[in-house]
């Protein structure tokens, strides 16, 4: 696709300002997650009675949630691939599957939180096993911040899908879908890190 030549065009001018904008946003967003995870690491390393996450949290359920987000990333690239070939209907179907993946993920997260809060030995925001503890605070803050991103992603996916059904995208004009994909894959990428650091990493051995 040829575009009007911007007078200020330089070798650094991106092929798509929208894509550059999304990348800058994602870099900033990654800093938020980085700060949350670094803070979590410091709190956990400084704690003498941090519970072993694999004993408290359900690894099997969250492993399935990880798998689900990876699947929804694949349907996202398939949607972009479809519109690159001008197939609007296939793009809609793949976006619908991606939305479904996101919604099921959120449902499972709601189920997980409910279970953690309602069970006999609850993980509460400031309390664990009857004492003040930051285990719940860090857990809910980080998974909640990520869940908010998935929620935003589902809304964003829905808007792009509706625009696609209204015929706004085509083989020569699929930039909007590509930018959406960047956001969605980023949410997947962050979950991969959250899953490892919050759920899987064991406690350091006691000295």
């Amino acid at each position: 696709m040829s575009h009007a030549v911007d007078p200020a065009e330089s070798p650094l001018t991106p092929e798509s300002w929208g894509k550059l904008g999304m990348w800058v946003f994602l870099a900033g967003d990654a800093m938020s997650f980085g700060a949350l995870l670094a803070g979590y690491g410091a709190i956990r390393a400084g704690s003498v009675n941090w519970p072993d996450p694999t004993q408290v949290l359900g690894i099997n359920l969250t492993a399935f949630m990880t798998f689900l987000l990876i699947c929804s990333s694949v349907t996202m690239v398939k949607a972009l691939s479809a519109i690159k070939h001008g197939n609007v209907k296939s793009m809609r179907n793949f976006l619908l599957l991606t939305i479904l993946g996101g919604v099921i993920f959120l449902g499972l997260q709601a189920y997980e939180w409910t279970h953690l809060i309602m069970r006999e030995k609850p993980v509460l925001f400031t309390t664990y096993e009857g004492t003040h503890h930051l285990f719940g605070a860090t857990f809910y803050a980080i998974t909640g911040f990520h869940g908010a991103h998935v929620t935003g992603g589902v809304i964003y996916l829905t808007i792009v899908m509706l625009r696609g059904m209204a015929g706004k995208y085509s083989a020569s004009n699929h930039n909007g879908v590509e930018i959406l994909g960047l956001y969605w894959h980023f949410v997947d990428l962050i979950w991969i890190l959250v899953f490892t650091f919050i759920y899987l990493i064991p406690n350091a051995p006691k000295p």
């Binding site: 900033g28 700060a35 704690s47 798998f67 398939k78 503890h133 490892t196 064991p202």
Partner: protein, 113 residues
């Protein structure tokens, strides 16, 4: 526009991510199944697996491998902040676990009123 840039084999990436996820969960269970498995090593294995997965998503799904270098540099800038943060927090990381009798560690165990 780079309409010609080749499309990677997405299914291959999917299989790789799936296998890595299975390995991760398997590694996490090593902790339970193999008594005395060195936990530092286990932590390192898990972090390496996560970084490989994140890199696969970034390089292929987010097309960084096929983009201009500038985007890759933007994508890596958060690492600078994270590194600085970890360095800034290091004094705290070595506090509690090594000296459980230190007052800072006791505060955390105060009974709820």
């Amino acid at each position: 526009m780079s309409a010609t840039h080749q499309e990677p084999n997405y299914m291959k990436i999917f299989y790789a991510l799936f296998v890595l996820t299975v390995l991760e969960v398997g590694a996490a269970y090593l902790n339970v199944l193999v008594a005395g498995f060195p936990l530092i090593l286990l932590g390192l294995i898990l972090i390496v697996l996560a970084v490989v997965k994140a890199a696969l998503v970034g390089m292929y799904f987010m097309h960084l491998k096929f983009e201009k270098r500038v985007l890759g540099i933007i994508a890596l800038t958060p690492m600078i902040l994270c590194t600085l943060l970890i360095i800034a927090l290091l004094p705290d990381l070595t506090g509690g676990t090594r000296k459980p009798e230190a007052p800072a560690a006791v505060v955390e165990q105060v009974e709820q009123p």
